[in-house]
């Protein structure tokens, strides 16, 4: 075997005796050298481009941290003016001696990661409560650090200024449902077969869209990416200071007698089939504080002509509404509407809970509001379900909105002007301002905004 190999080599080697082999090898070495030089130069240039890309991605990651902080504070924090629980949304309790929340929050996006720390400050004089955020984004070793400050909204918050139907987590239109309004959500807008969304503006969450989309769906506007947050309802002292006693009359012989549909102890309005109850009176402004409104089939809850009525559905977190999961239930063919044609305002404000799930259900063929007047349901912590053939006209804000088959949901232009009531809405922060980019954190520094 070895002999045969040696023979073959010996027979072929003399054939390669010319200059061809060294010349080709020389050419290959030269070409390899030139190629290497080109590759080195190209890689050098590419590194700059890659670094630029990473730098932009790192800034995007830092901005994602800011958005995350805003979301946490606007959706989790429930009170303002107290420093004891200022840091709850980012874990922990109160702020440290330097005014910053001790916990550093970390998160990730597709391209990289972010970390941030926050500094909440309470309102003082004409200065509103503020939230300062320092967020650092990092992508492949490239970091960008930004600082921004958001002011709290002291008053005048208009939740329906841009969209009349808001479902913070999602909006879903079942088959044949019809929504004629601008809509906004942080999730997807689902459109089942034959549903229609007649809108000028439809906001979905970042990376979300119309999904799922069934057959024969009608939409008149493309989805726009964005985020929306709603402050919780601030019931103030309505638990004790309200117009609930108006539902009762003072009988000089028997004492106070309340309408049979009203239980002042449990604070439940419970209309049996065919019953009716009128709230408010012409020209007045009334705040009611209930635990539940339960309208039986074919019952009517009327709002007096010319009255401005606010109905607070209190939180299930505390007495007297402890563990009440369904603050509003309209059974089939029941209605809430004004008694006449005079301008009337009804605001249904559902406090809900940060920890307990609550939901509102409108059964088939029930009816809420008239399109001529300013009616709103504001329930940012409560899921809203509209069963088949129900109709709502006005502004709707809920944790999620599910519109069942053949249901109609119409915008009321007058709901645009609705301002969320409350003594102070410091728990809600506006868009961040005072945006600055920071230098790299100096070594050994612990204060987050050094170098900003």
């Amino acid at each position: 075997m070895l002999k045969a190999l040696r023979h073959i080599l010996r027979r072929r080697t003399p054939g390669e005796a010319g200059f061809a082999v060294p010349t080709v090898m020389l050419a290959m070495v030269a070409a390899f050298g030139l190629g290497t030089a080109t590759i080195v130069a190209s890689v050098g240039a590419q590194q700059g481009t890659t670094r630029d890309e990473n730098s932009k991605a790192a800034l995007a990651a830092a901005e994602a941290g800011v958005a995350n902080a805003m979301l946490r504070f606007n959706r989790i924090r429930t009170d303002a003016g107290s420093t004891a629980d200022d840091c709850v949304p980012v874990g922990g309790a109160g702020v440290g001696t330097d005014g910053w929340c001790p916990n550093q929050v970390a998160g990730a996006i597709d391209l990289g990661g972010y970390t941030y720390r926050v500094k909440p400050t309470v309102a003082s004089g004409s200065t509103p409560a503020q939230l300062t955020i320092v967020s650092t984004g990092e992508v492949d070793g490239v970091t960008r650090r930004v600082k921004t400050t958001a002011d709290s909204i002291a008053s005048g918050f208009r939740p329906f200024a841009e969209a009349s139907v808001i479902g913070l987590d999602s909006i879903h239109l079942d088959s044949n449902a019809n929504v004629d309004a601008n809509v906004a959500t942080n999730g997807n807008i689902g459109l089942n077969a034959n549903s229609s969304l007649l809108c000028d503006y439809a906001q979905v969450g970042v990376g979300r869209g119309y999904s799922p989309v069934g057959s024969n769906v009608t939409t008149t506007c493309p989805p726009t990416s964005g985020s929306i947050s709603l402050p919780p309802v601030n019931p103030g002292n309505v638990l004790n200071d309200n117009s609930n006693e108006r539902i009762c009359t003072l009988d000089p012989v028997t004492g106070t007698t309340c309408a049979s549909a009203w239980n002042p102890i449990t604070r439940v309005v419970d209309l049996d089939s065919g019953d009716s109850l009128t709230l408010g009176a012409a020209g007045g402004e009334f705040n009611y504080a209930f635990c539940r409104i339960d309208l039986g089939s074919n019952s009517y809850l009327h709002i007096a002509n010319g009255a401005i009525v606010r109905i607070y559905l209190l939180s299930p977190d505390a007495a007297p509404c402890l563990n009440e999961p369904e603050p509003i239930r309209l059974h089939s063919n029941s209605k809430i509407e004004p008694t006449g044609s005079d301008p009337t305002s009804l605001q249904i404000l559902v406090v809900g809970s940060a920890t307990k799930a609550t939901h509102i259900t409108l059964d088939s063929n029930s009816f809420l509001f008239s399109c001529d007047q300013a009616f709103v349901v504001y329930a940012p912590r409560t899921a809203l379900t509209l069963h088949s053939n129900t109709a709502i006209c006005g502004g709707i804000a809920a944790k999620s909105v599910f519109v069942d088959a053949n249901t109609t949901l119409l915008a009321s232009s007058s709901s645009d002007e609705f301002e969320l009531p409350g003594e102070e809405i410091a728990a809600h922060y506006d868009e961040p301002t005072d945006f600055t980019e920071c230098d790299t954190t100096p070594a050994g520094t612990t204060t987050p905004d050094v170098g900003c």
Partner: protein
């Protein structure tokens, strides 16, 4: 013994044809290689200069977009000049040395081949510290800035485009970026 003699006989010299072909090939390869080397050496200064200009352009874009992002308002804008109020991390506007971010008046002015950056205090009187420096050269100006926004007099976004032409004047490398004024909300007082 016999096989060794045969091996020695096999190590005969190259034929004339082989030698001529080998030398010709070597000359061709050497000529091509030397041409490449000469061209590389000749273009090296220009390549280095161009790489420097591109790097300068990158730095300018980075600086400018950062200043735009931190900007409060655009005081004036055209495709060749931009003046804005923005936050700059300096000891004081128009001087060297870093410090906490403070509001300065920053302007960029681009000619046919270069851009200048000027920084001063927002309401700087005559004689106040002003720093002016060339931030990029080798571009094909002056169409650099592209202000956008619903109000033409008060843009909220500015696009920036730096075109580095080839030596024959054709469009070479383009660096493009842009930023929205994140602090514009304050400037309008809205």
């Amino acid at each position: 013994m016999g096989s060794r003699t045969r091996a020695i006989r096999d190590e005969r010299g190259y034929t004339l044809i082989e030698l001529l072909v080998g030398v010709a090939m070597a000359l061709v390869v050497a000529a091509a290689g030397s041409m490449i080397v000469v061209m590389a050496v000749q273009s090296q200064p220009r390549t280095t200069e161009r790489a420097g200009q591109l790097q300068q352009g990158r730095v300018m874009l980075e600086t400018l977009t950062r200043e735009l992002r931190q900007g409060e308002s655009i005081l004036s804008a055209s495709d060749s000049a931009l003046e804005m109020l923005t936050y700059v991390s300096v000891a004081s506007c128009g001087t060297v040395g870093s410090g906490p971010a403070q509001l300065c008046r920053v302007s960029y002015s681009c000619g046919t081949t270069s851009c200048m950056r000027t920084e001063t205090a927002p309401d700087a009187p005559v004689g106040a510290p002003t720093s002016t420096r060339e931030v990029v050269q080798g571009i094909s100006g002056p169409g650099v800035f592209d202000p956008e926004g619903t109000d033409a007099l008060d843009p909220t976004y500015v696009g920036v485009r730096l075109v580095f032409p080839q030596d024959d004047g054709a469009e070479g490398i383009t660096l493009e970026d842009g930023a929205a004024l994140r602090n514009h909300f304050d400037a309008s007082g809205a």
